[in-house]
Structures are given as C-alpha cells and as structure tokens.
C-alpha cells in the first residue's frame, strides 16, 4: 500500500494525492471514521492495562502508607515536575502538528513532530537519571532492596510499584516516539492532506494517551 512518494509529483496545493481507498470501503470519510474508532478502542485497552498497575498502587498504599510517604520524599520533585512539563508541552506540539496536517501544511507538521520527539527523548533522559540514582542507592524492588533510609515495612513494595509503573510508561513513551518519528518522515514526504491525515492523528492520539497516564502517575508517585 506504501506508494513510492518520490515517483508521484505534488498536487497544486503542495501535498501528495492520498493513497487508494481500500476496496471494501465506499467513501474516504467512513474509512477515516473507522480507523479513528479502531484507534480509540485500542486506547481503551491501554487504559485497562494501566488500570492493573494503579490497582496495585492503591492496594499497596493501603497496606504500607508510611513506607509510601517516606519513599515519596526520596523522589526528586524537580525532575518529576520537569518531566510533566516536557510531556504536556510535547502533547501541545503534537496537537499543533495534527492541526497543521489537517490543513495540509506538512512542513510545519514535520518540525512540530521533531520537537515533540526531542521532548520525549528529554523525558527518557531524565527518567534515566532518576533510575541511575536509585540503582546507586540500592532503592530497588523485591530482593534487591536494601535502602537504609526507608525504615517502615513495605519499602521494597513501593519501589516495585514505582519501577513497574514508570518502566511500563517509559516503554510506551518509546513506542510513542517511534510512531511520531515514522509519521514525521511521512510528513517530510508531504503525504498528508485535508483528506488524508489518519496516521498522524492516530500517532497523536497514542502520544496523548501516554501523556494522560503520566498526568495520573506524577501526583500519585511524586506529590502524595
């Protein structure tokens, strides 16, 4: 289905003609609606996936409240807030990219996507720094835990929840970034037009979901 962009020349408005419509759909709009609806269903599964992690968080918070308090104080608040800022801003840039793609401005969309991917990278770098701190302090989950400063019982359990939640989230950030990169390449090839921007929209929806999860993770882990 991937038509070779170079061979086709641009339409007068400056973007490529959209790819052929699949045979079993009769018009482009109902196909776009179907693709968006499919993406929303997939986001439903992602929400349920993180539901399990949050259930674990609240269960262990009910069991070991004081351990969660002590451990929360050992997380660096500055890095957490910076990460939240980064993700929120990258959500904005992705939304703007989608906004431009709807109007066929592939060039703007490309640069906005590049900025978003860079911010995602920044988020991962900061996450790496935090993880390094913890590995040095031996504040690790399960049997690897011996971190003197947490005296309350259930210390390792907080770090199990912390590493699993942020690890799963970081994995989703990586997947989101690769999606955005692939869509940025297609924007560079000027493939998007007012009638065809579904891939960028879906990558954007996925990125917003990743940001959504972090909006919940940030206060629960760092602030409370």
């Amino acid at each position: 289905m991937q038509h070779s962009a170079a061979a086709q020349q641009l339409t007068p408005e400056g973007w490529l003609p959209p790819p052929p419509l699949p045979h079993h759909y009769d018009d482009r709009v109902s196909h776009a609606n179907a693709v968006r609806f499919g993406m929303w269903l997939f986001l439903g599964t992602e929400v349920l996936l993180f539901a399990g992690v949050f259930t674990g968080y609240f269960t262990f918070r009910a069991y070991f409240p004081e351990a969660f308090d002590q451990a929360a104080r050992h997380l660096s608040l500055f890095l957490g807030t910076l990460n939240t800022f980064l993700l929120l801003t990258s959500s904005l840039t992705v939304a703007l990219a989608h906004h431009n793609a709807e109007r066929g401005k592939n060039h703007n969309a490309f640069w906005l996507l590049v900025v978003s991917v860079l911010m995602g990278g920044g988020f991962l770098v900061i996450k790496g720094i935090e993880y390094h701190e913890k590995f040095v302090e031996h504040a690790l989950p399960g049997k690897f835990f011996n971190f003197a400063e947490i005296t309350a019982p259930g210390g390792p359990v907080f770090y199990v929840v912390y590493f699993f939640a942020t690890g799963l989230h970081a994995l989703h950030v990586i997947v989101g970034m690769s999606l955005l990169t692939w869509v940025a390449v297609r924007a560079w090839r000027k493939e998007f037009s007012p009638t065809y921007y579904a891939p960028l929209e879906n990558a954007g929806l996925y990125w917003h979901l990743v940001d959504l999860v972090w909006i919940f993770l940030y206060p629960l882990l760092y602030l409370v």
Binding site: H24, T45, L48, L49, F60, Y63, G142, P156, V161
Partner: protein
C-alpha cells in the same frame, strides 16, 4: 417490516437436480500456499483459524483423556504426581487459550460477520491476518514452554506458588500474553466492522442475533484482555527477577493477584459462551423455520451479559479471605447475569412455538445445548449462592459446572455451527445419519462424564487431586467411562466431516431453506462475498410465506 419481496423472482431449482459447485469461489481463487498464508480474505483466515483451533481441541482432548485415565484408581495409575500436575495445567491452558476463546469468534465470526452485515470484508483485513499469526506465535510459545519443562501451577497460576515453583513458567506466561493480543485484535476488528460496514438495510435492530452475540463478545475481548496481559507480565517478572508484587514473603498480596486474574477470567467465560448463544439463536430459527421469539430481548441480553459480566468476578474468591461485603456484592451481581441467561433460554423455547421443526444433527446439538445450558446455568446460580459455595469451592462440583457450560454449551454451539454452516463454507453436505449418531453419543457420553463429577463435588473431593481417598473411587471410574464415550463421539465427527469435505453431496445455495442473511450468497461464496448488490428489506429468519426465497440460484 415483514414484507417478503425478494430481489429476484426465479423459479425454485427443482429438488434433486444435479447441482455443482460454483466455478470460482474463495477456496479455488488462488491455490498457492502463499495465497493462503498471506491472504487478507476473512473467509480464508476463518478456515486457517478452524485448523488451528481444531488442533487445540484435539491436543486438549488428549490431555483430558490422560487425566481421566490417571484418576481411574485412587493411587498412582499411569503417571506420577509432577506429570499429572503438568497435565492438568496443559489441559486447562490449551483448551482455554487455544480453542475455547478463539474458536467461534475466530472461525464463524470471521467467516459470517461480514457476510451477515452485507460487507465485502472486515474493517481492517491486514490486522485480521496479523491477529491469526499472533495467535499462532502465542500458541507456539506456550506449547514450547509447556513441553520444555512445563508449568505445574494450573491454568489459574495462583501466586505465590506460581512465582516460587521450580518449573519454568516464563514462556508459558508470555505465550498467554501474546494470545491475549490476538484476542484483542479480533475483538477490535469486529466492533469496527459492525459499527461502520453495515450494508444499507441492515440497521442495528435488523442485524442477525449472531452478530449481536459477537458484538458483546468483542467488547469483553477488547476491554478485559489487557488486565490478564499485565498480570501474566507481572507473574513472569516476579518469577524471574524476584519482584514483590504478589509474593507475600516480599510484602506482596496474593489476593490482589486473584482479583486481577479473575477480573479478566470471569468475563473470559462469557467470551466463550456468548458466541455459542449467537449460533444457537441463528440455528434454532433455521431448524424450526420460525422468526426468533423476542429479538430485542435476546440482543439486549447479549449486551447485558457482556456488561454485567465485568462486575461478577468476585464469586471466585468467596473462600479466599475476601470480605463479606464484597462477597455479598459479587453474589448479587452474579444473579443478574443468571437472569440474562434465563431470558435467552425462555425465548429460545418460545421460538419453537408454532414452528416447523426438522430434527437434524444440528437440531440435536441445539437440544443438547439447551439441556446443558439450563443444567450448567442453574448449578452456576447455586454456586453463586455464597453459603453453598463455601462447601463447593475448588471441588469437583465447580469442575463439573464449568465443564457443563464450556463443553456442554460452547462445544455444542461449536458443533451446531460446524454442521449448520458446513454446506455454506465448503459447498457440500455431511452425512445426516452419521451426524445424528455422533450427536447422540456426544450428549450421552457428556452426561456420563460430568454428572458423576457433580456428585464427587458434593462428596467433597477437591479438584486437581492426583491421589484421592478410596470413598471417591466408584464415581471416578464412572466419569472416566463417560469420558471415553465422549472421545469416541468426537472421533466419529472428525471422520465423517473430513470425508464430507471432498465427496459430500453438493449442497447448492441453501440446503436448509434457511432465511438467514448469510444464505443469500452461493456456497461456497465468492471472494467478494456476494454476486448481487445487497439490500436487505426483510428481517433475518422471516418464514411467513411458502416461497423459499433463499433457494433462488443465479450463477450455479
């Protein structure tokens, strides 16, 4: 709404005239291996699913027979404890994840959903093929894990035993995680197809009931499977790296595992039984030649079961230290789900009223289905009654209950669908008298296998027992005898269906004279499903006039 104008008034093909298969159809449209393995045609993917799931049924059946043989005598009989534990884990995992969950949605959902909606294919054909290969990958990973050391934790893999056992459960866990993905993809594909690809004339309340059942199933598949995906990842991580999520020695909580596990696994049993109910709603109309009795009631109860099924998982935890408040809440909600099943049963029996019932093999399976669903459903309600469950939990009563629903209802539904739609899928008829014989054997064998297990449960024999006190011996012998009868029945079916595939009598467009939407196409259907534009003015299964609309034959 019920006028029966059909698109083309052509004389009914004279009975007995020599019918032959249509020249070009989906089976001979490209016969290279590549055209089959890389197909995006939903019908071919359905056939590939049929091959995969039947292999799963065969494998699971073999393990079941080994278990039954082992339980012939109270002491060790043919295998030793560790192999027995691995065997019942194998039986559980293979049957559930390789046959029960993918079977009816994967085979008949894939084949008939687009045809019943009047669409050319499912919404995302490439994702449909991906879902099949993800299923194969998951099944292969799980089987490889089970063979090279195997898990001996039971299909429920309760922690902390599953996280501290010396058998390697990581590949089995990842296998289940991957198969879960295939389930999500299929469900997602079907929901989008139903929402966006309905042909003109097929409105929400004119869709066949099989489509409603698949819709309910897909909702559960999409929304429940991620939780088991996460749980298997957690258990695999905990078993290899020693996290402390579920293992109490490290501060974890085993009851949290049971909550997360059953949050998926209870809706999963509705993933298995809803499609079978959908098949029965179609087949009972066809074989009693009557419109369904209470269309919207059955459609809404499918959605009801799908929705309320999500809140009833706690009845698996009554004796695991769960609080009395939760036990009460879950028990009350489980009763609601029972009512939806009761609605369906009464409406199916209502459909027979003033019908024209023809007693064929599929109809024999429908009777079996109704009997087992009533019997299994009522024991389910009894199990949901909290005080009775305390005695029955984890005994053979529970084993008998869920086998009555799974083997009784779901496999009866699967066999009904296989026989009812065999002419449409392969263009040939199966031998009728062999079919009736096999149906009798299966129903008889099934009762002989599982009714003794109810009594074993009452007597207090726990499940997953390799050796048991002598007082349970007699009932176990009876159950094993029944199991061999059941196995014999399945073998007969396999034989005559395989033979009928190649030299069964040519079926023509509509051998049963059924008025379902799927019978408006030639059988086997062409790759683009229809040979005339689809505009359904009639409702499905409307038999109010004698002229048999569906035997109209154009091409053949």
């Amino acid at each position: 709404m019920s006028q029966s104008a059909s698109t083309a008034q052509v004389a009914v093909a004279p009975a007995g005239a020599q019918l032959e298969l249509p020249k070009k159809h989906y089976l001979n449209d490209g016969t290279t291996i590549r055209s089959w393995l890389l197909t995006v045609d939903h019908k071919r993917i359905a056939i590939m699913y049929l091959v995969g799931t039947t292999f799963g049924l065969l494998l699971g059946g073999i393990f079941a027979m080994v278990l039954r043989l082992e339980l012939l005598t109270p002491g060790p009989t043919i295998i030793e404890a560790l192999t027995y534990n691995r065997m019942f884990t194998l039986h559980g995992l293979v049957m559930i994840f390789m046959f029960m969950i993918p079977a009816i949605p994967g085979v008949f959902g894939n084949f008939f959903l687009p045809i019943m909606l009047g669409a050319k294919d499912v919404a995302f054909p490439k994702w449909n093929l991906t879902s099949y290969y993800v299923y194969l990958a998951g099944a292969a990973l799980m089987l490889w894990g089970l063979i090279t050391g195997g898990a001996d934790t039971g299909w429920t893999f309760y922690t902390p035993y599953s996280t501290t056992t010396t058998t390697n459960i990581a590949p089995v866990m990842l296998g289940v995680f991957v198969i879960g993905f295939s389930s999500i993809l299929t469900g997602l594909n079907f929901i989008v197809t139903i929402h966006t690809l309905r042909a003109p004339g097929v409105t929400w309340f004119k869709m066949p009931l099989f489509v409603w059942a698949i819709y309910g199933t897909s909702i559960i598949q999409v929304l429940a499977t991620p939780v088991i995906g996460l749980t298997t990842l957690l258990v695999a991580a905990e078993h290899t790296f020693g996290f402390g999520f579920f293992d109490p020695a490290r501060g974890g909580d085993p009851i949290l595992f049971q909550h997360l596990f059953w949050f998926y696994s209870h809706p999963a049993v509705y993933i298995m039984v809803l499609p079978a109910m959908g098949v029965i709603s179609e087949a009972i109309c066809a074989f009693s030649r009557k419109n369904i009795f209470g269309y919207s009631m059955i459609a809404m109860s499918s959605l009801g079961i799908a929705f309320v099924g999500f809140f009833a998982w706690g009845h698996h935890l009554f004796t695991s230290g769960q609080s009395a408040f939760d036990a009460g809440a879950f028990a009350a909600i489980s009763m609601l789900v029972g009512v939806f099943t009761a609605i369906k049963i009464f409406n199916w029996v209502g459909t027979l009223y003033k019908g024209a019932i023809s007693f064929t093999a599929p109809f024999a399976y429908i009777c079996g289905f109704l009997f087992f669903l009533v019997f299994g459903g009522m024991t389910g309600i009894a199990l949901a009654t909290v005080s009775l469950d305390v005695h029955w939990q984890d005994t053979y009563f529970v084993v008998a209950h869920f086998h009555f629903i799974m083997v009784g209802a779901v496999i009866m539904g699967f066999l009904t669908a296989l026989h009812y739609w065999f002419p449409k899928m392969f263009g040939r008829k199966y031998p009728e008298n062999w079919g009736l014989l096999a149906a009798g054997l299966i129903v008889l064998g099934f009762n002989a296998t599982f009714i003794p297990q109810f009594l074993l449960g009452n007597a207090g024999m726990p499940r997953r027992y390799y050796e048991y006190p002598e007082r349970f011996a007699a009932l176990n012998v009876a159950s094993t005898a029944g199991a061999s009868l059941l196995a014999f029945g399945f073998i007969i079916i396999a034989i005559y269906l395989a033979i009928a595939l190649f030299n069964g009598e040519v079926a023509g467009r509509n051998p049963w004279g059924s008025r379902g939407y799927e019978w408006d196409t030639p059988s086997p259907p062409p790759t683009e499903n229809f040979d005339h534009p689809v505009d359904h003015t009639r409702i499905p299964h409307d038999y109010t006039d004698t002229e048999d609309v569906a035997t109209v034959s154009h091409a053949t």
